[in-house]
Amino acid sequence: MTIIGLPARTRPRYGVAVVGGAAALEDAPEESVEALAVRFRAGHEAALGEVYDRWSSLVHSYALRALQDTQDAEDVTQHVFVAAWQGREKMTPGPHTFPAWLIGIARHKISDARAARARDVRRIEAVAAVTPSAEVVGTEDVMEPDRLVVRQAVDEMGEPRRTIMLLAFWQDLTHVDIAATTGLPLGTVKSHVRRGLTQLHHTLEEVRHGSR
């Protein structure tokens, strides 16, 4: 079979910078996220899919950790994105709109799910005299959303920073070991680790700011 090349794109399909490789992701994610936010707010249906694709793992992981139940976590994830879409006109588009906003909605939906659970427990209690335990209702770790936002930010970093960050903070390798593993100079490793931490610090500040 003759291979026909992919048709060349003659014009961008949206007026948005197309996110290409990892380097582009690191350099300018803000502009495209803000543009996505504008389209989302304007009710472009494709934007809902894009927002879902990019942040459903964040929301789902948060719900899963808070509720410790697959079905409840899926339901909460669904409620969050539907609520976000229905309430999109209340959202202020910005470069860091989505994580804070979606986590904020998720917090409410998780607490609704817990309330529903507590009602069920009380019902069972009335029948079987069982005491509701914290385990059933779930406990909230206030750091959890930050940890998940940071994890996503690290996964979205360009290489080699992403690998260096994972080796340094997840595998707890020393900088010397990372230099040996990656074949990069020690000074480069150190500067990636420092800048990586600074970058995450800024991300968290902006996300927190975005939630106000």
């Binding site: 879409w85 340094a168 500067s191 420092r194």
Partner: protein, 247 residues
């Protein structure tokens, strides 16, 4: 002394021994810099979370269906009598909805095709598997799929007659590999200049997509499966895993 460079402050959190004495002494005396160090240690404490857990693929269709409502599901209705009761969709409006759909962007098409699975789910069908071809439909065209530039088999595609103006394209792919990303199905025109996105192979390497017959007749006959990174770009990634031409 001027305020310390933030990367030095980060170093103070990560490896204090690397930081020169004057910087450490400045931070000890400077409220602003010590507050930044504290914030950086909080960030340091937020590292180490396990990888994020994606929800199951079928949840996307549920979200799109509930958020975008029955009108979208109706726009992609299969016309096989599965319109939810109480929500009749006149044929004309369905037709109107269908035409611009194929002129819309690839992403919009993808979203709407995702909506198709949804309409079915919302009427309570337990099997969310790809739509099976019409049992009475005749096979109009078929092709084996191969890897690009080789004969390595990658499954097969059938185009089945669904109705007067609709063809059902049934993809059964194999050995697409485990490159990260999701698999998207495209129809490339034999003119090599135009292409349309059919949708995502969400559940497995199999999927069924409804295509207006006139697209196939116009030359959109090359079935292409790509691996797409989750980068928000609705266009083809340029990485094709399998191809075949419907003949």
């Amino acid at each position: 002394m001027a305020h310390a460079d933030i990367d030095d402050l980060a170093a103070l959190v990560i490896e204090p021994a690397d930081v020169p004495g004057p910087v450490r002494r400045h931070v000890g005396a400077c409220e602003r810099c010590s507050a930044t160090v504290e914030a950086l240690s909080t960030t340091r404490g937020a590292l180490g979370a396990d990888p994020l857990v994606a929800p199951p693929p079928e949840l996307r269709a549920r979200v799109m269906a509930e958020a975008l409502g029955p009108s979208t599901a109706a726009a992609t209705e299969t016309g096989t009598g599965e319109t939810p009761p109480g929500d009749p969709v006149p044929l004309a409006s369905r037709h109107r909805g269908g035409v611009p759909l194929w002129l819309a962007s690839a992403a919009a098409v993808t979203a709407l095709v995702a909506g198709l699975g949804v309409g079915r789910m919302s009427v309570g069908e337990p099997e969310a598997a790809p739509v099976e071809p019409e049992p009475t439909g005749a096979v109009l065209a078929a092709t084996p799929l191969t890897a690009l530039g080789s004969d390595a088999p990658r499954g097969a595609v059938e185009a089945v007659n669904a109705s007067d103006d609709v063809v059902t394209v049934s993809v059964r792919a194999t050995e697409l590999g485990d490159e990260p990303g999701y698999h998207e199905v495209w129809l490339i025109n034999v003119d090599g200049e135009r292409m349309v996105a059919l949708g995502i192979l969400a559940r497995s390497d199999n999927g069924t997509f409804e295509v207006p017959r006139r697209l196939i007749e116009d030359g959109y006959r090359i079935v292409d499966i790509s691996v797409e990174p989750d980068d928000g770009d609705p266009t083809h990634s340029g990485v094709s895993l399998a191809r075949g031409e419907l003949v």
